[in-house]
Symmetry: D2
């Protein structure tokens, strides 16, 4: 969880995080990981995000999807935007493993969500990916069905494990080791607290681009334990969860703000970056039930500016989740002896301290 | 109204039309026209569609917009799709008059919708257009502020006047005289009747493309009173109104079905065609009121296939509105002595009769 | 091939077909099928479309992708539209088999396209699907890696086998047996002949919707050997190939015209229909080569209306490919004893003949 | 020009600016302003950007358009993205003046670009806007035809006048006085220098959001001469010009990077912000000439990562143009006695100096 940043006195943005500063602060959301580190070449995994603990196929969640830069292989996005819903868990894995993982996701959904009176003959699995080929034998497609099942079967509402876990096992950002990151923010509206939670898988950025709280840390650390350039440009997958009652259109609007969070860490959205955002709300679940012709729903009024607080929460949580992935990840050696060093936290803290504006 | 088709025994599609087979069958919707026929060169006008008779700025209607082929100058579309709403009447006019008409629309809205406690400093006028330059002195931009005011001040819930009126004054389709057309269909859901109404401004198509109820009438009439080719490719604007409670996403979905109605008349969506669709619902009006943070709304459940009836209704009403514009329009002579002949109804009826399948 | 339609004297549209009236009339394009008919429950398959016989990863083809109605699980579309290119063959299969097939496609591409000096660590497989669950045990996901390899290894430039083959093995349209269909049209520009070819997999439509050459055949055959309604709404995948030098933007523009071809057969784009279009050109192949910073390309000028002929060709070829799938498919019995009867051609011909306008 | 930033030792980004650090560094591009400051209430104007000095209707420039947040009234965007071209100058003005200005733009284009043998009956004027109602009598729509003509008739290739000029006369950003800003960057490719130039009209942001070179200046100046909140959320229009040979798809890709430049200044893209980006290239002009069926074009190969330098250049130029607007603008008093203070440059410099990382 992003408490590592807090522990170091680093506060990102000005809004209040949720109880654990993690996507699981959104009530009902659960996350599970399978981490594969085997021999010298296998450095990969799978991460499952489950929007709620019920029967997701029969109680779908409203969702939106956005492609920032489409050099990526995410599956399931067109149907999200046609129907504004998600009906399976969201899986993250490596680029070449998407086919296997989406097939495994179907294998998991059928026995878990199918009811005797309703055969599932159509299903829209959601899988997104990052390229971990610098450390991992990506062509081996080592994430097998049992690994997907393990991630799904071990999901929990605990604070998300961050860093070198799950789909984050082999990824890098700003030429430092990266991994899974998460954060959350509280939005108070009409006397109630709502939560925006983010889980991200940052795998992008040149060293010199990294910015932390406005300080050009990447430039300062330009030559710090830097390996020869690997030619890959990386990607980022961002999953946004909330319990705010938002429509599909509004969920796409908050997804659009993810770019602003990426930009705050110095990202420029490279040519070869697959940047995808999936947002969903646990409010107003939609029954898979042909008898209900009309639905009664409550939704945020965005005719006026109250939604700005949701945008701000999203941007801050995206920014913090990226930084948290970097702070949590440890140095790793993988395929072909490639080494990806962790962010040197003491040096970072020192540069932050040297900047005139307080980082706490 | 499309009763002209009915009078000739032509039934379009298989669903039941509303009481007047016109967009004004949707409760609250009103239409007004200003028709400009002056001297030998002025053949143009303006048509106003008002979603409801209240204060539209303060009680906005949910809306969607779609560009089929973007060779057109419609204004106001980006904001429709960002906020999913319309806050002014919709005006139709000729291509080069859009600027003047959108300015006049602002001039009309300010005194009509502004309240003492709420100054209007931002407003999104909706104006779409067709090119009437074959018959009209389009560079003259003859639609002035008073003409826009007249169309707005004379709107009525009566069956829509069709043919050579308003923005339809100078347009052509399939190289016959065209104009304004309208139609409606009833959709019965959950024991209630709802209405889908369409108003269209068809200004597209080569003669040989015209199809009526599957019969290639255009091919049969290929050389009927045909003038030398004028080089313009035309456009179509389609406005869809309903009282069904649909979300923005669903309103865009029904807008997408307009293409299928156009195709049934033989249209192929030429390169130089500005094909725009604007859809709105009078259900779930959205108050311009910052105090309402959440809204309670009822909406159609499109997780299952009941929405197909709405799609079918849209397609049939679009098809019929185009044919109705053709059947209603009378021969006109305009600028440079250009003549555009009306569809020869007796010949059309004769071809329809000769086809093996009944047209009634 | 669509010669079956020609044999019956049915001419679709007014443009001239290519030599075999098949997508393979586009020079270089090859198609292969694997047809799986086993026991009583397996009625499915895979179809591979290969844009050219060279190394497709290293000589990518320009492409566009369009979602008409996104109830579908096609993979690879976001990257097509970001980079405007395809780098793998296109595979068609059943809905739940997409994961397996996309993984198998990677397994086929790696040994075929990888060069010693260029490791493939990122790859965008293109797979689209239709739902064949009325006749097929779709949950069984019976299309295995070897079936994908077989389709890819047996591609040929011969006229496309149509009807009950490949991914078309288990599909239905208008509640008749459907399958694979193909057609082509010649476009003459600047003294040269160019070809637009289409392969489609039509799996959509209620019986009463079917229209052939404007004649409401489906209404006439409403009760012909009709089985109880199966609840599925179907889909259609359309692949458009051409040798015309078109840009990405132009390839998306022609993809948009596919709707008009679907509409001519009576399709209305149902709620639960996955309607995807993928278009590509074999002109202006793009090398996977970082040394070429600028490319010299020739492209069609669409500032004027010559592109209309390409739109017309696309619409006609889409329409004919759908009809050809119906005319070519034979009655099939599958899972749970479900039976899907073939289109009764003599009856259809008789209705066409009875219509006043000639169908030849 | 952004030399004001340079004068103060502030370097934005790491790439080299063009000769004048202004959009007019792109060869051929010209800019003109009409500034309206009359009495106590009129604080508005118009800015014209002309892509080249020739006949723009007959030598169109390739272009792309992007809506970041569509609360805005820009006109002309759908056609830009259908045809990938611009055929008129781009005009910027205030929100309620768009209709008048687009009509005036037509009035200017007709006599300037129409040729005897080619009557202009269709024209796509491009106008974008910001809301200057805090200082200006926006309902008065004071920008008249003659003001548009003056801006167009006085365009020049000189370094762009910045700050309180043209459409920037009445705008604010981060609750400081803003205006017109411009910047440029050199991209060296294949041994040649190309230029990316930006002109922006920033009118967005809460005080506390402002960030300059990573330093949270807005938080430091939270209470500096702050007037009561005015309730408007503002907008930004960004015009990107280049001489790089880019396709429509690529021009949209660079437009997408504008968000990252906005984010670097602290922008979060508020709910009520109209954020529009228009990009064009002066390379590969497209003749308005039906005789040319095919065009020969050179374009950047973005199959690999050379385009990243263009993205970086765009982001830096957008960021700098926004800051330059702030640095150039002077305090203004307008309607209802509203006062908008200029950015206090000495204080800003002092905060930048106090930050540990050098700002020079």
């Amino acid at each position: 969880m992003s408490r590592l940043l807090e522990k170091h006195g680093i506060q990102v943005g000005r809004m209040t995080p949720g109880a654990t500063n993690s996507i699981t602060d959104v009530d009902g959301v659960m996350v599970g990981h399978t981490t594969l580190i085997e021999g010298e070449n296998v450095r990969t995994g799978a991460t499952a995000i489950v929007p709620h603990s019920g029967n997701l196929f029969h109680e779908k969640v409203k969702a939106g999807a956005l492609t920032i830069n489409g050099f990526g292989k995410a599956v399931g996005l067109p149907q999200i935007n046609e129907f504004g819903m998600i009906e399976t868990p969201i899986l993250l894995t490596n680029t070449l493993n998407v086919g296997k993982v989406s097939d495994a996701l179907i294998s998991w959904v059928l026995p878990h969500y199918q009811r005797p009176d309703c055969s599932i003959t159509s299903l829209n699995p959601i899988v997104a990916e990052c390229n971990d080929s610098y450390l991992n034998d990506i062509q081996g497609r080592h994430v097998e069905k049992e690994h997907v099942f393990h991630a799904l079967d071990t999901v929990s509402a605990d604070p998300v494990a961050e860093g070198v876990v799950g789909a984050g096992t082999g990824v890098s950002a700003f030429e430092f080791k990266s991994g899974i990151g998460s954060a959350s923010r509280i939005v108070r509206l009409d006397g109630e607290n709502y939560t925006v939670g983010v889980l991200s898988l940052p795998n992008f950025g040149r060293r010199e681009e990294l910015v932390i709280k406005g300080v050009p840390i990447g430039r300062e650390l330009r030559d710090y334990e830097r390996e020869p350039h690997d030619g890959e440009e990386g990607s980022i997958v961002i999953v946004i969860a909330t319990d705010l009652p938002l429509s599909h259109r509004q969920l796409v609007r908050i997804a659009k703000r993810a770019s602003f969070g990426i930009a705050r860490t110095g990202g420029i959205c490279h040519n070869g970056s697959g940047e995808f955002v999936i947002s969903f709300t646990t409010a107003n679940k939609v029954p898979h039930d042909p008898k209900r012709i009309f639905l009664e729903e409550r939704r945020l009024n965005d005719a006026h500016s109250v939604i700005n607080a949701v945008f701000q929460a999203t941007i801050e949580a995206v920014e913090e989740s990226i930084l948290s992935a970097l702070f949590s990840a440890e140095t790793m050696v993988g395929i072909d002896g490639h080494r990806r060093g962790a962010l040197p936290i003491p040096e970072v803290l020192s540069f932050l301290k040297a900047s005139g504006h307080s980082y706490s």
